[in-house]
Symmetry: C2
Subunit: 434 residues, 2 copies
Amino acid sequence: MSELNDLDASTLAAGVRTGTIRVVDIAEAVIRRIEQRQPEIQAFAYFDADLVRDRAKLLDAVPRKGPLHGVPIGIKDVIHTFDMPTTHNSPRYANSHTRIDAACVDTLRAAGALIVGKTVTTEFAATLRGGATRNPRRPQHTPGGSSSGSAAGVADNQMTLALGTQTGGSTIRPASFCGVFGWKPTWGAISREGLKMSSTTLDTLGIYARSAADLALLADVYDIDAATGTLPQSLAGLKVGICRTPLWDKAGEATQTAMQETASLLRNAGVTVCDIVMPAEFDTLHQSHRFIARREGRASFLNEYRTTPSLHDDFKATVENRAGTSPGQVRQAYRHADLCRALWEDIAAAYDFVITPSAAGEAPFGLDSTGDASFNSIWTLLHVPVVNVPGLTGPTGLPVGISVTTRRYEDRRAIAAAGLVSSLFAVRGAMAAE
Amino acid sequence: MSELNDLDASTLAAGVRTGTIRVVDIAEAVIRRIEQRQPEIQAFAYFDADLVRDRAKLLDAVPRKGPLHGVPIGIKDVIHTFDMPTTHNSPRYANSHTRIDAACVDTLRAAGALIVGKTVTTEFAATLRGGATRNPRRPQHTPGGSSSGSAAGVADNQMTLALGTQTGGSTIRPASFCGVFGWKPTWGAISREGLKMSSTTLDTLGIYARSAADLALLADVYDIDAATGTLPQSLAGLKVGICRTPLWDKAGEATQTAMQETASLLRNAGVTVCDIVMPAEFDTLHQSHRFIARREGRASFLNEYRTTPSLHDDFKATVENRAGTSPGQVRQAYRHADLCRALWEDIAAAYDFVITPSAAGEAPFGLDSTGDASFNSIWTLLHVPVVNVPGLTGPTGLPVGISVTTRRYEDRRAIAAAGLVSSLFAVRGAMAAE
């Protein structure tokens, strides 16, 4: 029988609403799971069971606040929370506790969320150097990063939902490695106020869940635009693009197979599947991502550089512009991104949605690096919504996600499509098991 | 004889460095001025003389921290400061005191700045509804907004420098109305972490000073890129564009005269002056600014809307999308902005710098509205640096600024040009006075 921590947000919130589930019982289930698993998985940078208990009691005592009343949510440790420290996995902020909620957390609390703790990030959400978190599917492997604890915690049923961030591939890659849904919203659609910043062109919030329905619930909470036209209710008759991107030679066997399998399952479901070959302008788009990330990162980490002599050399290199990025290169990178956004929008308009890799393959062995974000960074720069769909596995049995994307401000379409694709994977999994 | 509060940052910092000026004496001069002027001008939302005295004593006691050691700086009340409240001119935040410095304040403190207080903003820096601040040049008139207190405070020698923000024209318009230098940096060049956000595409920090040399000092502090090529040392031989923009019919007599006078002074100084007629694509760019500001504002103020029933109807209208802005309109606005950025960059590349209006005219009478941002919003959307140059006056004797702009990441060129133009205005003023 399922414990409360295994259920999805909609089920929990419905139970709380009708009085069949108490928030304190949800809290106890989550606390038990966390206390059991934290020593091995280390999803949390900060966890205080008594604080969670107190909030749960309060939520049971007040009228229902909204659609997330009593739902346990983890918050990446680069996002400010008034009642918990925010340390950014940085020595400078080891004892930092700002008395403020980020806008995205404020909105969650207004909907009744039970914030359960702060989840492990790589330093400032801006390095590949591994955090302490392990992949719950196989603990010798990285969960991906930088939103390591949020992805691992949701995958491991230590929380129902979680917030992360993405500048390169920090939301989608961990979702793929841990086998959960991950949603990078359209740039600008959800406030970034109160988050550690790295790049104003690239940073977005990220969201983790174990079902597409839960992502749709968060799309309500975050007031995401209604989709243009009706959302797809079934796959038959849809037109879907398969975009391997100019970086396809980085795809390992697991990702190659996952993409083939997805295309084949879609075809069998009555979808018109078309290969999208990106125009030549996209060949170097990942390099423009790098120029922009470097220049804006230089501005973002300047204050750390000026105040903190012990700052890791990764950030010193960025602020000192050791790569020698020139203003002209940055201007050119902005123009390149602007051009590709227009080109991509016209391409994507011809499809109900587009499928693209979430990662190069299964989660790599070891915790030294959180893995390769190559397949994510161009979509981050294009500002489009991306949803990782779990359900496929690689040759060693670890999860391999695929991404659904659409035009900007079509997040609800991407989430609905992810739900349909996920159902295909589930049916296939059930048939394979028979 | 000048008081210490009348001097510029470079002079103060040099005096502190050589031991001829004590920070406590700077502090006392500023405190005297503020206490004398606050009842009428109301530049400050928060001012604690003892806190300023304590910081000044500390700065006298420690080794020199950097190029702003002891320089009094005001901080707009939408920017977080660990030792002072941040209230956003919003009832919800009336008692809000977050224990954090925004990145831009952190960098100032690392350079030795003496933070003197929080300056008045319109609510969330996102309305035209007037704050309490009066224009120090003529107190029945608005100082402009939303960075009202920062512009007025610098103009009135209550502080040497100040930070503001800009989403439409919130830095440049008040600089023009109050007769001080204002600098809106290239989008992305200075961190926005720790600022109240309104629009991720549009928000930037803003900076006030009484000399171009002080802006250059802050360009050092904020690690702004060295200009490509050498900075102009004199005007003779330069090529300057005069851009009246497609909104020229909004320019009143004061602004029309200021633009003519500037062109004429530049010609007399040996500059090749060329009129720039923007291509037709720019005719509706201010409308795209509005679509983007509305959609991103909807995301930015969602948490206030969900938590604060008494929120002003201005913000409710934005979050409820009463204007009915569609995702398609927003996508089109982004594309329009992207296209115009590329077009403008090619146009601007042909000139050493470009002159354009800072405001429609002199500061309007009354405190009900902070005035019209029409002449600022397209530059904000284009992401280029803009520097307001004071020194001209309108028919009623109030200041009328003109703006200098360049390509992105050429802020140092814009600042140097502003200094040269300012010298022209000063010579003309001296001759007119004879």
